[in-house]
Symmetry: C2
Subunit: 362 residues, 2 copies
């Protein structure tokens, strides 16, 4: 069965170098379909003063789709079918996921448990028991399949339901000692990857992975984390997404407790038991989904920009990321015009997008 | 030098059985002086339908004053001289304190450090170092001279300034192994007692002692505390007095951390260092003193109550403590009339006062 043309077109956009999730979303919103966006890109990039980004070829994408199928996995596309609604809320939601296992887990309430790779044995045991208790209470436990706390959390929830989000391709085992665990989760839980098969995880992939962990869940529990660790990034992303941030405290004399204690000082909920976690994410405390417009049926309004607007915005951009709002204010252009020009500049390789809706010159 | 007559009269009131701090304050506010209150008591009690409480005799009080002087201690009276203003804010401020040592310590910013008697060695070391660092930063450290955390806190602040509030008389050593520590604090710090000399500490004295610890300080730090422990009572009293409540976290696996973790969940500030404590009680966060009217120069308005009002209120009182406001509402009498009748009933032994301004039949 050939892959649907729309999926091929979507993946061609996603796998290009210059098109991140925000731009992808804007292109689909503006042009109504991935194919229409692809057709418009050369013209947009030219107006942005650069060359169009190289898109992945149809053949390349058809090979990816075939490979994913051979691995027993499948794609999920933002705004379609089984793609998780909670994750779709993120401004930076991945346009496509590759998943292997029981996708029904995506429909259940979920909690993330993350923490240090070099956690204490006591903390790992605590994480496993917390995951077990949350699983018994009906929650899916989401983590990152790293050593330490992540692995312990997956182990505790393997029988009740666990989702592992990995930084590399769905077929790449990392860390090596987690091979059996990764296989078990693909068979009995759900394995989730954003990168295409074959991609080895690199440092930059881990924060991307962390946003998916935060985005898939109603809240994130941090168990033992050093200051400035990846677990704290996940916690920050969860907070930015309006999800509950929870942390397990420890003695001030224990350096491994510093990250969690700091989170609690900053306002994270102190949790000691599964009951504490369930109370924090109880339905009464969870705001309703912010349903994004995901069907793209009607193309959004497009604003034509003139050469003067392009020059003004290109001049306002420097190496320091600034909020788009600030550009609207300083340029005195309409928000729609600014978005149009930024899209053109980005496709021309003359703009970078940053966290929190900021942009800069590359 | 004979003791001032006003001090003798005040102590005669204070040392009676039926007159607690709230009643004492109301009597002085209403009659303008302790002696005038003493003169009025038989009549008030008769109207309340009972016999006047036995007041301590002049001779008895003169012996107390003499004994306090011999012990090298002195009385401080609420609203006079060196009596600490922060403590005077409490609705239940002790009408008199007996102090021995350096009363200048009462004028400096102060923090309470309290915790478990059977604390871990690590927690005691932590408390000592926290007290040392707070002392170096200029804070006086207040505690209750109990075993464990209290003793460690006093030790850490002995050089910089520490105040020990004890549950029994100023001359009673408790616990026995703290004899040298208690003597050292009386010589180099300040020892504070509410009970007259010779009184052995009993269970009911400890919560009274705890309110003084909370009342003398801008905030209370709890280091290791079991659920339902005395340290948590101190924390609650601190919160009720509008003071900062701080707690040192611990692992959920450590039973001795449960009380502190619970406090943090309830809103206490998580502290790990002296800097955290100082930040929490920084001048910018401390509200101005609520200066109570303490000179009693002008007697307050007195409302005459008739027999019907007395009967109505006596009928409304049962064994379950109710707020005075509730009595005002249900009786439809004026607040001043209700206060007058309650004062009469109390002096007649027909009313008990409870925490939070509640009253009941005895």
């Amino acid at each position: 069965m050939p892959a649907p043309a729309d999926h091929v077109a979507r993946l061609r956009l996603i796998r290009s170098d210059n098109i991140g999730p925000v731009t992808y979303f804007q292109l689909l919103a503006r042009f109504g379909s991935a194919q229409a966006a692809i057709d418009a890109i050369p013209d947009l990039a030219a107006r942005g003063g650069g060359r169009a980004p190289r898109l992945a070829s149809k053949a390349e994408i058809e090979r990816e789709i075939e490979r994913v199928a051979k691995l027993g996995a499948r794609h999920l596309f933002l705004g379609q079918g089984a793609y998780p609604l909670l994750l779709a809320e993120l401004e930076t939601a991945p346009p496509a996921l590759i998943v292997k296992g029981d996708i029904a887990l995506l429909d259940r309430p979920a909690v993330a448990i993350v923490g240090a790779r070099n956690a204490s044995a006591a903390a790992c045991r605590f994480a496993r028991q917390l995951a077990l208790a949350l699983g018994e209470a009906g929650s899916v436990v989401v983590s990152g399949l790293a050593r330490g706390i992540d692995s312990a959390a997956h182990d505790g929830a393997l029988d009740s339901g666990t989702i592992a989000v990995i930084a590399g391709g769905i077929d790449i085992v990392y860390p090596p000692e987690n091979e059996a665990r990764q296989r078990a989760i693909a068979e009995r839980g759900l394995l989730v990857a954003e990168q295409p098969p074959g991609v080895e995880p690199r440092a930059r992939h881990f924060p991307y992975r962390n946003r998916i962990i935060a985005g898939l869940t109603h809240g994130t529990v941090v168990v033992e984390a050093a200051p400035k660790s990846g677990s704290l990034i996940t916690a920050r992303l969860a907070a930015e997404a309006g999800r509950e941030v929870m942390a397990v405290p420890g003695s001030p004399l224990d350096p491994r407790a510093q990250g969690c204690n700091h989170l609690i000082r900053e306002g994270a909920t102190l949790v000691q038991t599964a009951e504490d976690v369930l109370e924090a994410i109880s339905p009464s405390r969870i705001r309703p989904f912010r349903q994004r417009e995901l069907d793209y049926a009607a193309p959004g309004p497009s604003a034509d920009a003139d050469e003067a607007a392009r020059r003004a915005l290109a001049n306002l951009l420097g190496p320091t990321p600034v909020p788009v709002d600030e550009l609207v204010r300083q340029s005195a252009l309409s928000p729609a015009t600014v978005q149009t020009v930024l899209l053109e500049l980005e496709l021309a390789g003359r703009l970078e997008r940053h966290a929190g809706g900021k942009v800069s010159a590359p």
